[in-house]
Symmetry: C2
Subunit: 222 residues, 2 copies
């Protein structure tokens, strides 16, 4: 796979990430021509300075990683990230409301953020490790109906990451009307290629350099 790098959101989301590490992430993304860098919202302005003038896009997470902040806070987080230069927003769905079968609240939460995001790209992280099959199907349906451009498997902070079964079910559920991002625990080239071959349009990983240079890393991957 020649253009594997262009599938990768080069990701650094750990709470201890320093400004120097964010700068290194941005340099790596330019060096390896990754699709984007993905950072927490406090680092968007800094990352924007670093990737400005390059082709590297900038993703900010929102409501991350629990998805349990108020809708108003998610809207403000998305808005500030866009003002600071984000091209894409990766928000976490409200998992508790989904499990409460309060589907209207789940939908309103996504819709409100999509209103802020406008024509830019909104990915909705479903945190598949916590969802039953029927919940995953509902989550895909709600995300799609609420304006998601992508559904995304995982934050990397839950009890599990992307699985072949979940990505397959997500692809089937959104049926070409949204894209799928596989993320969480994807550490090597073989895994990345597997999800792209299945149909994933994007890979979220903190092991991007190892993936494109084919070096395995044993570090925790978000």
């Amino acid at each position: 796979m020649e253009n594997l790098n262009q599938y990768i959101d080069h990701t650094l989301l750990k709470p201890t990430a320093t400004e120097a590490e964010i700068i290194r992430l941005c340099k790596e993304a330019q060096e390896y021509r990754f699709f984007s860098v993905c950072v927490n919202s406090c680092h968007v302005a800094l990352a924007k300075e670093e990737v400005a003038g390059s082709d590297v896009k900038l993703c900010s997470v929102v409501g991350f990683p629990l998805g349990a902040m108020s809708t108003q806070a998610k809207m403000m987080e998305a808005n500030k990230a866009l003002v600071d230069g984000a091209d894409e927003i990766d928000m976490v769905m409200n998992i508790g409301w989904l499990k409460s079968k309060n589907f209207e609240a789940v939908a309103n939460d996504i819709r409100a953020v999509k209103q802020v995001v406008g024509k830019k790209v909104l990915k909705v992280i479903l945190e598949t490790c916590y969802l039953e099959k029927d919940e995953l199907v509902s989550a895909c349906r709600i995300a799609l109906q609420s304006g998601a451009d992508f559904v995304k498997t995982s934050t990397g902070f839950g009890t599990g990451g992307a699985t072949e079964a979940d990505v397959t079910l997500m692809l089937k559920s959104v049926n070409g009307k949204a894209k799928v991002k596989a993320s969480g625990g994807i550490k090597d080239r073989r895994e990345a290629v597997k999800y792209i071959t299945l149909g994933a349009a994007r890979i979220g990983t903190s092991s991007g350099v190892a993936i494109v240079t084919n070096n395995y890393t044993d570090e925790h991957t978000y």
Copy 2:
């Protein structure tokens, strides 16, 4: 210790928590007369309905659990939680900025939230498991100078929770000018009493019922 229950913030922060579980948390808090319930910001309005008319206070977390969202998003999350009825705000400090020695940004982040919180109680979660001793001392100093009413050890989502050494160092660092909340991994009465005896003014735990009824639980405790 007779009034142990009045030290406890009865806590449910897992992302999968349902509305029914939040309601149960609030009922337990009233039954056992805990000081407060502590929930994610999406649940504040519901929890307020449940504890209204009782003595149980309501805490919302903010910027939880990574502390890495933009200051503007933390301000909005605090503001909306207060509008929805929160009495206290437990915000997570920006750990990455602390580790970058960008102390001014760490201070501004806390100060901005304290401005929103006003005379209500602001606790600043330091996430001690990620901090070196000197970082913990700096974190206490910055929190104190920025208007924190409490410093709090842990989110429960990091690699560790409260320790005797950290709580002791925090008490020494704030030197009576702020209170200390011990949280993360406190599962039984013996542990809770230990921290209170050391000088902690509040205990954050999801094992409040087990603690006051003296039943041990092996579940993960936030």
